[in-house]
Symmetry: C2
Subunit: 429 residues, 2 copies
């Protein structure tokens, strides 16, 4: 890999998510040469992917070019690369564009879907972890209604208009709410010749309640909001298989659907190497409270890819954007302190609370000891997400979209953009 | 195809471009049942595709969902369908979702690229006729620089940083100008470790001047603007072949490039059928001055797909958005008159002028007998394009982007969005 040789220790960061980007932007550039690697040239604001999937936001407004965030930072380099292996002994990473030596390494590669070993579900369901996933889902959802218009087969039409979301964490709940708004407000005007009452949104959750990580109050309120919007909720239910448009569960209930959206679980995702021997819950790499792996004090794992095992966090920290961001900020500070031969402190998580939005004026939030629901929670949710978005332009565009949608539910992003189709010309010849 | 049987004559429109959309939105819904068919669910504002390709605008802001434009129009239906054949004798169209009878038919299918029979150019060059094309081009251009960073092979780097645009009509000229702005203002900050002076933009034109359809003054001024921005222009030059990254011409000059963008010619593009026997210049279907084909007075061809042959227009009309829009408006009126048994008039083109933008503050315009260049032409160009965009939201978003870019050349749309990549997980197993 072409990186200039500079007489400074080299810090390599794999992944430009919430953790990796924070470090790259905060390192003291006099102490380290920083090389950030990612398989995409942009940072994705994952908490809003569901709004891209439900045609509420354009993809470009929740993505941000990595190079732009690193402008004017000296000794800082970005490379578009897929890391294939981490060679701890020789302190280098192997990538599709060559090898790169490191002095310090940060693994901040995040998480991928966890299908709990079910290959048919993995093959047939739609995930929502990346911008591409969200765009595919948008095209799929809108395409289903176009297809539903063209079939006289009632079973096929039912499958096309039935949506099953597996997993009622924030992602599943927010997507269910967004689909319900599409059903109630947007699609009936787009498809006047289709009976939209036959569109069903089913949310399936293995735990006894939705938003299992939140309090009973928040969970119940979110449940009530979703029910009012017409979402069918099945708790205590596990999806066991999905093929030929049929979703099977561990209960006496099954669903016919062409669209199974998987939001049921994630697991740590990282390149192979010796560190993969230190695996904890949800396939996350075990670290100490300094986010270091146990076999090397020069390798750190942040965010969803790692899990701290210490007395302070016996169950590790949740897989949340706020944990990743705080760890990124922490590690930048710690690495700078290490370089200056100062003493370092273990990572302390500052729990800023959790929230989920269900629909307009309807959200649930838990901040410190305060729990609130409804329109105030919804405004707080919007404000927090606007602030967390990277880039002033993105904030403006998202704000305009939200304001626009608030007043007329109709932003005109319902595009089915699919790969190249050949022109008619080819048919003629 | 599932279209309700209504006791009205059925008008089928193929293509929701500038012509097709105008008709569908203007028909008297008491006289006709209107069925609009398109292979995409959105209308594309083609004149601004080049700004999507050069990362100046998000794709969603120049596309508009067709269903949204037809809201609240009774007896009007849209179907997402690819028309495969037109059966004039039985008055029906054959599509991938079934057959559809028509009483009146409008072929408004536009144009596709014309490679003048050169198969290697067709296979290796990048077109810019659709939103997908423009997004592919954006990813390709940005990806080239990421790759250029990773190679020590100077010939390969040259090929990656050399851009060749074939055809100096408005599309080629506007794209060349946009790439020059990327080179001069945007990319040096994104790629501080790459020598951007080595990026070359070459514009090749077969005619003796660029913007051949415009006046000598406009052409010369545009030429001067482009040269000032560092674009290399080769007039009187024909590209004869392109393979192994080498562009050959009919002159003693050749180019090494990984990116050949084809903007050299378009031709009419339409489903097969009997009307394909009536072909004029540039593969366009010959019509009379009522836009009717000669073998059936119930079949009309509008826009780029058709060419009027009459005394008034001995050379036909140019392939321009304004011609298509006016023909759409004309035909809606004419069909309404026909249904009301009123007399009809032949189509008269109202030439509103032409313009092309080269860069900030730099455009050329010819409106009626007035020719003007520079900042005033540029403002007129922006104003006209904002007005022609479909949808108020799109106008706002484009306006914000343009204003933003005007002040800081930096809008953050430089995303390489490519199809699905598998997670690391798969490497581990």
């Amino acid at each position: 890999m072409n990186i200039p040789n500079i007489d400074l220790p080299r810090l390599v960061i794999i992944g430009a998510g919430f953790a990796g980007l924070q470090i790259a932007r905060r390192m003291n550039t006099n102490y380290y040469q920083t090389v950030l690697l990612d398989k995409n040239n942009y940072h994705t604001f994952q908490p809003l992917l569901y709004q891209v999937a439900s045609a509420g936001l354009e993809p470009d407004s929740i993505a941000y070019p990595i190079r732009k965030t690193l402008r004017n930072r000296k000794n800082t380099f970005f490379r578009l690369a897929e890391v294939q292996q981490i060679d701890e002994e020789n302190k280098q990473v192997k990538t599709n564009i060559g090898n790169l030596k490191f002095d310090k390494l940060v693994i901040a590669t995040g998480a991928c879907n966890n299908f709990f070993g079910n290959a048919t579900i993995e093959m047939n369901s739609l995930p929502m972890k990346s911008l591409t996933d969200a765009l595919n889902l948008r095209s799929k959802i809108l395409g289903n209604f176009e297809k539903a218009l063209n079939t006289n087969n009632l079973l096929e039409r039912e499958a096309l208009m039935n949506f099953v979301i597996v997993g009622a964490g924030p992602t599943g709940v927010e997507l269910a709410g967004a689909l319900a708004e599409l059903k109630n407000k947007v699609l009936p005007k787009d498809f006047p010749d289709l009976d939209l009452r036959k569109m069903n949104i089913n949310l399936i959750e293995g735990a006894p309640k939705i938003l299992a990580a939140m309090s009973e109050t928040s969970s119940q309120k979110a449940h009530q909001f979703l029910k009012q919007m017409g979402v069918y909720i099945y708790t205590d239910t596990l999806v066991t298989d999905y093929k030929n448009n049929l979703v099977l569960t561990n209960k006496d209930i099954q669903f016919t659907t062409d669209t199974l959206i998987w939001a049921a679980g994630v697991q740590g995702d990282f390149p192979k190497g010796k560190h993969t021997e230190l695996i904890g819950k949800s396939n996350r790499i075990i670290t100490n409270e300094f986010c270091q792996i146990k076999t090397s004090e020069d390798i750190f794992v942040l965010g969803d890819a790692g899990i701290i095992q210490s007395e302070q966090y016996p169950n590790g920290l949740p897989m949340l954007a706020s944990v990743a961001m705080q760890q990124g900020q922490y590690l930048a500070k710690t690495l700078n302190q290490m370089a200056a031969n100062k003493s370092i402190q273990p990572f302390v998580y500052n729990d800023k609370g959790t929230m989920a939005t269900i629909g307009r004026n309807q959200a649930v939030a838990e901040i410190a000891k305060y729990k609130f629901q409804g329109i105030f929670a919804w405004f707080v949710w919007m404000l927090v997400h606007l602030m967390l978005l990277v880039g002033f332009r993105n904030r403006i565009v998202v704000f305009i979209n939200w304001t626009w949608n608030y007043f007329n539910y109709n932003n005109g992003l319902r595009l089915i953009i699919r790969p190249y189709r050949r022109p008619f010309k080819k048919n003629v010849q």
